[in-house]
């Protein structure tokens, strides 16, 4: 989690994306997790999901081999991240090339799928007028 507050998180091709940011009530301050890059969610979302988006492009994995795991985050009853071994060529950190494209929103750099560092601003496509939301950022234009 980005900090001690209230977050809803998901795994997207090996990155952890979180929305929320409501401060944990009645909890003393502590620094957030520096692995996360955070930004304000686009617009002024009136839903209960929250107003901040954070992305950890390289979350911890059981053995560090990013392309070998598929993780999911369950929120109920309390947040837990569960990882199952499931190799996939399109994930962040996986090898890439003309025959092995990366997930949309990530880039193939030096033969590896990577995520360019940018301030995240969306949780889903609805936050991005005429664009897709990928890895927490509005980017690819809708066809």
């Amino acid at each position: 989690m980005p900090d001690d507050g209230e977050w809803t998180c998901t795994d997207q091709a090996g990155a952890t994306i979180c929305v929320g940011g409501e401060r944990a009530a009645g909890v003393a301050a502590a620094p957030g997790d520096p692995a996360f890059i955070c930004g304000a969610r686009r617009g002024a979302p009136s839903d209960l999901l929250g107003a901040r988006i954070c992305v950890d492009p390289s979350p911890d994995l059981p053995d560090g081999a990013r392309a070998d795991w598929r993780c999911r985050i369950v929120s109920d009853p309390s947040p837990r991240r569960i990882c199952d071994r499931e190799p996939g060529p399109w994930k962040l950190g996986a090898g890439c090339g003309a025959l092995h494209p990366c997930a949309q929103g990530s880039d193939c750099v030096a033969g590896r799928c990577t995520l360019s560092r940018r301030t995240p601003d969306c949780w889903f496509d609805g936050d991005c007028p005429n664009q897709h939301c990928r890895f927490g950022s509005c980017g690819a234009t809708l066809p």
Binding site: M1, D4, G5, E22, A24, G26, A30
Partner: protein
């Protein structure tokens, strides 16, 4: 039975005791873990058997013997020591012994003092000249706030008769334990438990683990302001501050050994129970809960449970049913930590005060004018601290509780510790004084002033101690102008609590919540005992004369029902239905006399001013009496 092995000399694991006792004297033995004591870590029940076993773990060490004695808490029963002290059995106190008196309906609040907590001391002598002394806590029941939302894994005891469980949440196999009495329930799954008593009165308990309860209280539209303030509250930050390193030392700020047993009150949850509280989650994570780790280095789940956060007082799960929400105002909520004498005696001392019983007369709870100063909810509403005027339970008095004086959600300000005392606006009668930046009124007295100062617009003056102390409140009978006197004791450091700070003996902390002011309070400044005061008697005489005058003279004295004022002190004068007409000299004179009568400590608070009030009132009353032939008694 849930048991824990306490490795003596290594440090007793966080046990079932909530009020930390002073650490025992250092052992003569160098630190080697040679004795293990196996004792119950979780509460064992009221009037229930328990056993403790011990064994020497180092080969070649002498076994010796262990001597036992109870050093704290309610008396344990049937203690049997066998096997040279390596086996001890006993029985916990009954609920009636631990918590004498009638039981409230619903969830029975239990504090460290009333939950059947006891501490046994083991003194091991290995027969080779080495001794080791350790303390073993035993408890009958978990602490309980008396609120209907509670933690799973935490047994609740129920006041009332004929309880039966109507329904429980999915997955629950919990049943009501009807014997021994009182009935109890151990919630085992998240959700609502509907119960009803013999009369069909329902109680809905809401249970969840602490760590599974969202901490989103500060969402916009909910409690954003409180959440902002609470972030800086010393309650919130107590564990973070305590774990903070001391410069040049590896010790935590609150001293070596911290947090240790302080976790019971510096974190959320009941140690020893599977409630999703701090020590339980630490155990699940394989982290030693009682070891000093920097706050920043604690795992996120533990930080969310560290400190006295929302759930520590309001309980886990969900918001309780609306009718039950004001129960959080009860002192029972604070008592789970502040009622652990002899170390923490705040609640025990407070229970001896008149404030603890301020609302025992039903009228004080139903009449809005009375509720302003006789009920916690009424007082908080009157100072704008809380909109809801409802008392926790219409049929159950709770007194003026902790929350009336202490703003528990408030941010601690810079400067000396303020104990989170509220600082409400000064009563109108005193606004000119307390609003003056040169005011000498100690801020620690601010919260006392609203209820110990008469309302100038009220029909009768009430509780006038603060007004007299500050030399205000009187009216010149002839002109109606304010009578202003010197405030002879206003420089006392602390204001009211400079003198009103005594309570039961033997309490390390909190005795001042007895708010007594024995005569010895005066001796530091008044070396000679003060002569007996005739102020009260003088005021009474004048009042009796005024009553005769008022009753016989309907023209000049507006009050026609002077007999409503009882002379037998069975109720304070201000509880009368009488209305004084302060438009007349006689009405103003009565106001002055009642100001003195309404302050039983007038002679100590400000004798010169009290005398001045009576002196001003006397001519008006006596002239009226002379006109109608009433003589002064």
């Amino acid at each position: 039975m849930n048991r824990v092995v306490a490795k003596l000399l290594v440090g007793v694991a966080v046990g079932a005791v909530s009020g930390c006792r002073r650490p025992p004297a250092p052992s003569q033995e160098p630190a080697t873990a040679c004795l293990q004591i196996d004792a119950p870590a979780a509460p064992v029940g009221f009037d229930a058997p328990f056993s403790i076993g011990a064994r020497v773990t180092c080969p070649g060490r002498g076994r010796g013997r262990i001597a036992w004695r109870q050093v704290a808490g309610v008396s344990l029963h049937a203690l049997v020591i066998a096997d040279d002290g390596f086996s001890l059995t006993g029985r916990t106190a009954t609920l009636a012994e631990a918590r004498p008196g009638p039981l409230p309906w619903g969830v029975i609040p239990l504090s460290p003092r009333t939950r059947g907590e006891a501490t046994l001391e083991a003194l091991w002598n290995d027969g080779l000249g080495h001794e080791l002394r350790r303390e073993i806590p035993i408890a009958a029941a978990p602490r309980a706030r008396g609120l209907p939302n509670t933690a799973v894994g935490t047994r609740l005891y129920l006041g009332g008769e004929g309880w039966h469980l109507i329904s429980g949440p999915p997955g629950s196999a919990a049943t009501l334990d009807l014997a021994p009495r009182p009935a109890s329930l151990l919630p085992d799954a998240t959700g609502d438990y509907r119960l009803a008593d013999a009369q069909g009165r329902e109680l809905v308990l809401r249970a969840a683990r602490y760590d599974e309860t969202p901490l989103d209280c500060g969402r916009s539209g909910c409690h954003a302001a409180i959440t902002d303030a609470a972030a800086g509250s010393p309650m919130t930050t107590v564990l973070a501050r305590g774990l903070g390193p001391v410069a040049g030392s590896s010790s935590p700020a609150f001293g070596p050994g911290y947090p240790g047993c302080a976790l019971a009150c510096h974190a959320t949850g009941e140690p020893g129970l599977a409630d999703g509280g701090y020590t339980h989650v630490a155990s699940e994570m394989g982290v030693a809960a009682d070891h000093a780790v920097r706050w920043e280095d604690l795992p996120r789940p533990l930080r969310r449970l560290g400190g006295v956060g929302c759930l520590a007082c309001h309980g886990p799960a969900a918001l309780p049913p609306e009718a039950e929400r004001a129960r959080v105002l009860r002192a029972d909520v604070c008592a789970v930590c502040h009622d652990a004498p002899p170390r923490y005696g705040h609640v025990a001392a407070w229970q001896e005060t008149g404030m603890a019983h301020a609302d025992r007369d039903p009228r004080t709870r139903s009449d809005r004018a009375c509720a302003r100063c006789h009920t916690t909810s009424g007082f908080l509403a009157s100072i704008g601290a809380r909109a809801d005027r409802r008392s926790p339970d219409d049929g159950d008095p709770i007194g003026i509780t902790c929350a009336a004086c202490h703003a528990v959600h408030a941010r601690e300000t810079s400067g000396p510790p303020s104990a989170l005392l509220r600082a409400p606006a000064a009563p109108s009668l005193l606004a000119a004084i307390t609003g003056d930046p040169r005011s000498l009124v100690d801020t620690r007295s601010s919260v006392c002033l609203p209820c110990h100062t008469p309302d100038p617009d009220a029909p009768l003056p009430s509780a006038s101690a603060a007004a007299l102390w500050l030399g205000r409140g009187g009216l010149d009978p002839a002109s109606g102008q304010p009578l202003i006197g010197a405030a002879v004791h206003v420089r006392a450091v602390g204001g009211c609590v400079a003198c009103h700070r005594a309570g039961p003996e033997g309490l390390a902390r909190g005795a001042g919540h007895g708010f007594a002011a024995p005569p010895t309070t005066c001796t530091p400044c008044h070396a000679q005992p003060l002569p007996p005061s005739d102020l009260a008697a003088g005021a009474r005489r004048l009042w009796e004369t005024w009553r005769q005058v008022a009753g016989a003279s309907p023209v000049e004295s507006a009050p026609a029902r002077a007999s409503d004022l009882r002379g037998d002190r069975s109720a304070p004068a201000h509880a009368s239905d009488l209305r004084l007409d302060r438009g007349t000299p006689l009405g103003r004179a009565a106001w002055d006399v009642l100001l003195v009568i309404e302050d039983p400590g007038a002679a100590a608070h400000n004798a010169p001013y009290a005398r001045a009030l009576l002196a001003a009132a006397e001519p008006a009353i006596m002239q009226a009496a002379a006109r109608i032939g009433v003589s002064r008694k």
